[in-house]
């Protein structure tokens, strides 16, 4: 599903160069739930931005869903983000003026679906996250956990092949965090690949495997025991 080979990314200013990623290689198989861990400044967000085609990189090759996306132009990257990728952010990134329905509608608007198709997808996605009854609510009228569920619905509505989650529970209390994580496990169990950036070891343990990033490089790969993975799948 995701294959990065020797990716490097350097941020340059007039006086300094920062190697955010260096010789970064990672394989994620279809249907996997991978946690990417590391301390602040280790490069995990840069990895996620590059993996989600939000940023370009300097060297290396990147295959996503069987397609070489290393040299895609901006329109091509936008199209793939729209059709194959879902994003979940720590701060939800809901648009405050739009109600729940319209927030979930945002990616679908750029997909060219007609109104009926968009309505059906939004309804389904909101049912998955249990917020179908809150369609007309504004984000400010929802709790943090509910807002993150709306963000998950927005990510799911386009039926993506892979979900990128950046500290998805970082702004939530433990109860809400558990609900969101349960939801992600459920989504993964239905076949959607998930790559989650976190520095919380508890969350990482819910993934199939975790990847540690330090100084812009993958340090090791830790497989989660099969029993854990099976338990997570059964729960969903």
């Amino acid at each position: 599903m995701l294959s990065m080979q020797s990716i490097s990314k350097i941020y340059r200013t007039d006086v300094v160069q920062t190697h955010a990623l260096r010789d970064f290689s990672l394989e994620v198989k279809e249907g996997e739930f991978v946690a990417v861990m590391g301390p602040s400044g280790s490069g995990k967000t840069t990895f996620l931005n590059i993996a989600g085609l939000l940023e370009s990189f300097d060297h290396g090759t990147y295959m996503l869903d069987g397609e070489d996306v290393s040299h895609l132009d901006d329109d091509g990257r936008s199209r793939i983000r729209n059709e194959r990728i879902g994003f979940i952010f720590q701060s939800f990134n809901l648009i405050p003026d739009l109600n729940v329905f319209d927030n979930v509608d945002v990616p679908l608007r750029y997909r060219g679906f007609n109104a009926a198709e968009r309505g059906r997808r939004i309804q389904e996605a909101l049912e998955v996250v249990g917020l179908a009854s809150r369609m007309k609510h504004l984000p400010s009228q929802l709790s943090g956990g509910q807002q993150q569920r709306v963000a998950i619905a927005r990510a799911l509505a386009g039926d993506p092949r892979i979900l990128f989650a950046d500290e998805p529970t970082g702004n939530l209390d433990s109860l809400m965090a558990r609900q969101v994580l349960d939801m992600l496990e459920g989504i993964n169990s239905k076949g959607t690949t998930i790559v989650m950036v976190t520095h919380d070891p508890e969350l990482a343990r819910r993934a199939h495997r975790s990847v540690h990033v330090l100084d812009g490089q993958v340090m090791d790969l830790k497989a989660v025991p099969d029993s854990k993975r099976d338990a997570a799948t059964a729960k969903a």
Partner: protein
């Protein structure tokens, strides 16, 4: 997608009401100023007879004295003498031709309680109506026999008919002009060509006259000109006939010449006429006859003043300053929504899609500012009418100007929005998402 973008634009404008008001206000003030000056310019430079303005020619004959031109450096008079005008009428070399001048009448009707009224009059030939197309409400022009026989017939303007008789068909009724009874043969509909092209010598933006009568009544009634009368020498003896035979210019002469060949032929005819007159000791100056069609005639007479042109230029500079301010405000507004921009880019909006979204938003600002600007422009024109006497005919707003102002506002706003929109869509989405 346009309706979606329109909805987003309204939501966005609602989100920052103060910033929105500042942007719309900046556009409105610039557009209001431009609308005021443009409306005046537009009305002044209007071709009041578009359908045949290029076929009607004002005739100039240089009958002026030998020592000095009528106007420097070598401009011929803008009116003609009575004798030359009558000669050109008699020659009838054009498809239609018309000699005309403005006069005044004391007017009475058969109503016993009516006090005598002073009316603006125009003595002319019947071709005036065929050439200049004033629309008739009742009746029509007088006959050729009335012209030839100097019959006492009259055509009234819509407004004057209403003043004398109310809103009724007065054709067939009689009025008394300068103590002579006239039969009314026609009543015009409202007709107010602006500028009053057929007589730019007298009140360029004034109303047309109240009463029209055959020009051949000039001698029997001793009709005096009520407008500009210029002479380069003594007007002969002091008799009325002496005035008619003098070299004073006080009448307008128009010829209808449908083709350029007609115009060239008529110009040759005028030159021939002047050469003949030179043999009689008249026209001491070199041949200098002119034919100007209506647009040329308006320009020749500087109907659009230099001041008006300068004001339009200044107002556009002011609009530019307003739009520069608007650019800054739009940029600030767009950058405040960086999180939304990053999110939309992340979920698949292309740069072009976002660019269109923001241009629609600036278009909404333009329309709003334009509508408010038109209102300000309208208020400005009311101010002009209060400040400048007799400016009613050019200090007004027509639908064309409303459309032009709105279009200008939309174009200016979208131009102002180009840079901010281009700037925000170019920033990589990851940057926006980080700052959330």
């Amino acid at each position: 997608m346009f309706l979606y973008n329109l909805r987003l634009a309204f939501l966005s404008l609602k989100r920052d009401p103060i910033l929105t008001a500042l942007m719309i206000g900046a556009v409105a003030i610039g557009i209001g100023m431009s609308t005021t000056t443009l409306a005046v310019y537009h009305a002044m430079s209007n071709n009041p007879i578009e359908d045949k303005g290029n076929q009607l020619y004002a005739v100039q004959l240089d009958s002026w004295g030998a020592n000095q031109a009528y106007n420097d450096p070598d401009e011929p008079p803008t009116q003609v003498t009575f004798r030359d005008g009558q000669a050109l009428m008699k020659a009838a070399k054009a498809k239609d031709q018309n000699l005309t001048f403005t006069t005044s009448f004391t007017v009475q009707t058969d109503k016993p309680d009516m006090k005598p009224d002073l009316a603006q009059g125009r003595a002319t030939y019947r071709d005036f109506f065929a050439m200049f197309h004033p629309p008739f409400e009742y009746g029509g022009p007088w006959s050729k026999e009335a012209d030839d026989g100097a019959q006492q017939v009259a055509v009234l303007s819509h407004e004057y008919n209403e003043k004398l008789f109310g809103d009724v068909n007065s054709v067939g009724k009689e009025i008394v002009l300068n103590n002579r009874r006239f039969q009314i043969v026609g009543v015009l509909k409202h007709w107010a060509p602006s500028p009053k092209f057929y007589d730019l010598e007298n009140d360029q933006f004034g109303d047309p006259e109240d009463v029209f009568v055959p020009l051949n009544l000039v001698s029997p009634m001793q009709l005096h000109v009520n407008g500009n009368n210029s002479c380069w020498g003594p007007p002969g003896d002091n008799s009325f006939q002496g005035h008619l035979d003098s070299e004073c210019v006080w009448l307008q002469f128009w010829a209808e010449l449908p083709t350029t060949a007609d115009r060239d032929a008529y110009h040759d005819f005028l030159d021939g006429y002047v050469q003949e007159q030179k043999k009689l000791g008249r026209f001491p100056r070199p041949l200098n006859n002119r034919l100007n069609d209506v647009p040329q005639w308006l320009a020749y007479n500087h109907v659009v003043s230099k001041d008006s042109e300068a004001l339009v230029g200044l107002s556009f500079m002011f609009l530019a300053v307003c739009m520069l301010n608007t650019i800054g405000l739009i940029l600030a507004k767009f950058l405040r929504r960086s999180g939304e921009i990053g999110l939309r880019r992340a979920v698949g909006a292309s740069k072009a899609a976002l660019f269109r979204q923001y241009l629609v938003e600036t278009g909404v600002i333009g329309v709003s500012g334009g509508l408010l600007g038109v209102l300000l422009g309208w208020a400005g024109l009311i101010g002009v009418r209060h400040l400048i006497n007799d400016s009613d005919h050019y200090a007004h707003l027509d639908w064309t100007m409303v459309g032009v102002s709105l279009l200008l506002a939309i174009l200016a706003s979208m131009l102002a929005g180009l840079y901010p929109a281009w700037r925000v869509v170019r920033i990589p989405p990851a940057i926006y998402l980080k700052v959330q």
